[in-house]
């Protein structure tokens, strides 16, 4: 199945802004994060179809997975 992955902030460095990826059914968001080798300490927000999600959540065909770095005060 295919999903769209959107990256923001430093995650885009040497990666991409948006990509369509093929994954097997039953794949979790965590598996995609691992595959992209995103630094665990910097991962702040996971969205699936614009809704906050957990890394363990499973993805479905056509989902949009958005991965954002941490957000803390300025």
């Amino acid at each position: 199945m295919n999903i769209k992955v959107r990256l923001f902030g430093l995650f885009r460095i040497d990666r991409f802004k948006e990509d369509i990826r093929s994954i097997p059914p039953g794949t979790s968001a965590q598996a995609v994060i691992d595959d992209l080798q995103l630094p665990a300490t910097m991962l702040g927000i996971i969205l699936i179809n614009d809704i906050h999600a957990e890394a363990s959540d499973l993805l479905s065909d056509g989902d949009c997975l958005t991965l954002l770095p941490l957000l803390d005060g300025g």
Binding site: R6, F8, G9, L10, R12, I13, P39, T41, M42, G44, I45, L47, D50, I51, H52, A53, T66, L68, P69, L70, L71, D72, G73, G74
Partner: protein, 617 residues
């Protein structure tokens, strides 16, 4: 401080702090070792100053009876990383209730002044009354203890924050400085004056790289007292770094707490600036007076776009390993670093950039630089200007001030200069007063009279309960965006339990990046207190003291005439919901009413007796 106990939570009066009181009218200067009343006193900062402010009846900020309290936290000047905070407290000229009474306020900044101040042997300096002539205050370490002198400052009059510091450095090459700019000098027409704190980097490079205690007009209060600067002259005192503190510091640098703040080159997020990228994913970057349009305009100030044309250097406060500063300089034709412009933090960049329609990094940097040099709070200034620009956009045939509109760099620059020079009280007195004078208050983005930070109020109903400015005294700004919480229970818990603990950093002397998510009631702080002072304080006792200090702040607001109706968000948020923000709506009238009821039901019983009269010492 003097410790005659190892258990300050149970025996606070066995801890004494050294206070100097300066009567600016008579010139009398007195010193006293003051026993602490409770753990809040021991920790310091606003935890102590608010107890003293509560003892005074102050009806207007600009009166002789309103003190300016300068103090530090227990860990200021210690080996604990980020321990560099100085606190300025008093009744605020800008933050006030509809009843017309000023709110108690504190403001804080890093730089090296705080440590130098502490190393003189002084813990607190209280200024009473006003000086008839401009003065600066010399705080000096001597073999007999700290010495304080009041000195003429006529030669500093009219200088910018940076120029004052440079002038004083010539006289005191081994000292550090806190200075106001022209804004604070023109306190009658400028209620948003801040205090600039010198940094090692600034004194070495001679570039205007100050840190700021900006919020609440403490620089204007300092100007009202006719104090233009403070000089702290002492030798550096670095104790031997213990294994315990070394471990804590390593955790601060490498741990999760500061990860986002570290430079990109170290695998971090690149400072607070990175909030742009995250918030833009939700179309929640404030634009044109907090009305995001669902477009990509904010991306023009993304780091990746700015670094194409400007030099960006990651730098740090003195002895801090977090390296959160992103200093922007011009880039020469050959690619080398040119003139230093400004430090890009999320708040000033947004509020003097995207939120006023400025999308050019160089222009935004120049406006930040102007704001810093005049010594104004970038948040209050930016938000009041954005209100004026929004007014002009709504009334094209009947504009105010110079008719500036969003994105008009030249006219906005002119507004900042005039405000800094005290010639534009409409802006200088803040958005609450300006909007009331124009009869259009719904799109003035302040809460309780203090302009909000660069987080959309649609994402943060917790602003209403912040006691000293929107985001740094109530850490709920990420509860929806970061944590995805949109249910009432999470918000009630966030406001009344977890997120108020952010104010603990404004007691103990540490920067919030020490561990922004967890606060100061942690084993890391417990270990530092044991190692630095041989104090046995539990994390629970620290958390209890922080909660008590927060609640006292809330009680003080109510005593200064705030009604519960004033604990509210800007009306536009509710009256005209922004359809572009891609997050659940948690600012409907129903949600806010429920939140208000439940939050007060928890807080109100705890406020009883918090402001009981305490004998003056």
């Amino acid at each position: 401080m003097k410790f005659h106990t190892t258990d300050p939570a149970s025996n606070p009066s066995a801890v004494l702090y050294n206070r100097c009181t300066v009567d600016l009218q008579t010139g009398a200067i007195s010193f006293a070792d003051i026993p602490c009343r409770n753990l809040e006193d021991v920790l310091g900062g606003f935890g102590r100053s608010f107890q003293d402010l509560a003892q005074r009846t102050i009806k207007t900020a600009y009166c002789d009876e309103n003190p300016l309290i300068v103090n530090t936290g227990l860990l200021t000047g210690s080996s604990a990383m980020t321990g560099m905070r100085t606190y300025f407290s008093g009744y605020s000229p800008i933050k006030g209730s509809k009843a017309g009474l000023p709110a108690a306020m504190w403001s804080t900044g890093s730089g090296k002044f705080g440590a130098k101040f502490k190393w003189t042997g002084l813990d607190e300096l209280i200024f009473e009354n006003c000086s008839a002539t401009p003065v600066y205050i010399l705080i000096k370490e001597t073999p007999d203890g700290p010495m304080v002198e009041v000195k003429s400052a006529t030669h500093l009059l009219g200088l910018s924050t940076h120029a004052k510091i440079m002038a004083l450095q010539l006289e005191y090459p081994d000292a550090h400085f806190a200075a106001i700019g022209q804004a604070g000098e023109n306190w009658q027409n400028n209620y948003m004056g801040g205090v600039a704190l010198s940094t090692e980097n600034q004194l070495k490079s001679k570039e205007d790289k100050c840190r700021f205690a900006g919020r609440g007009g403490m620089g204007s209060l300092m100007g009202h007292k006719n104090i233009l600067a403070l000089v702290a002259q002492s030798s550096d005192k670095h104790g031997k770094l213990s294994e315990a503190v070394k471990k804590v510091n390593l955790n601060v640098v490498k741990g999760g707490g500061s990860a986002r703040i570290q430079p990109l080159s170290r695998g971090g997020g690149g400072g607070t600036w990175a909030a742009y990228d995250v918030l833009q994913a939700f179309h929640a970057v404030p634009l044109n007076n907090f009305r995001p349009q669902g477009n990509d305009l904010p991306e023009k100030l993304f780091r990746e776009n700015v670094e194409k044309e400007y030099d960006i250097k990651s730098e740090a406060c003195y002895r801090c390993g977090i390296t959160c500063h992103n200093n922007i300089s011009e880039k020469n034709i050959d690619g080398s670093k040119g003139e230093f412009l400004a430090k890009f933090d999320y708040e000033p960049l947004n509020l003097l950039g995207t939120n006023i329609g400025i999308h050019d990094a160089g222009q935004a940097a120049r406006l930040i630089q102007l704001c810093d040099n005049y010594g104004m709070d970038a948040i209050s200034l930016g938000v009041t200007i954005s209100y004026a620009l929004a007014y002009n956009e709504r009334h094209p045939g009947k504009t105010i001030l110079n008719g500036a509109t969003f994105g008009d760099y030249a006219k906005i620059r002119e507004l900042i200069i005039q405000t800094g020079e005290g010639k534009l009280p409409e802006i200088g007195k803040g958005s609450m007063r300006l909007s009331e004078s124009l009869g259009e208050t719904s799109y003035a983005y302040h809460v309780k009279g203090l302009e909000i930070a660069a987080y959309q109020p649609e994402t943060n109903p917790g602003y209403a309960w912040a006691i000293a400015g929107g985001h740094m005294s109530m850490g709920t700004y990420g509860l929806l965006t970061r944590e995805g919480k949109s249910d009432i229970d999470s918000w009630v818990k966030g406001i009344t339990e977890d997120k108020l603990h952010i104010v603990g950093f404004d007691m103990i002397g540490l920067c919030k990046f020490f561990d922004i998510a967890k606060g100061i009631g942690t084993q890391m702080v417990v270990d530092c207190l044991k190692s630095e002072f041989d104090l046995d304080v539990s994390a629970d006792a620290i958390r209890a003291a922080v909660r008590q200090a927060f609640l006292r702040g809330l009680a003080l607001e109510l005593r200064q005439g705030y009604t519960k109706a004033e604990f509210c968000l800007p009306a536009e948020v509710i009256e005209n919901p922004n359809p572009h923000i891609k997050l659940p709506n948690i600012t409907s009238p129903e949600f806010l009413a429920q939140l208000e009821t439940q939050v007060w039901a928890i807080f109100e019983p705890e406020l009883e007796g918090l402001l009981a009269p305490v004998l003056m010492r």
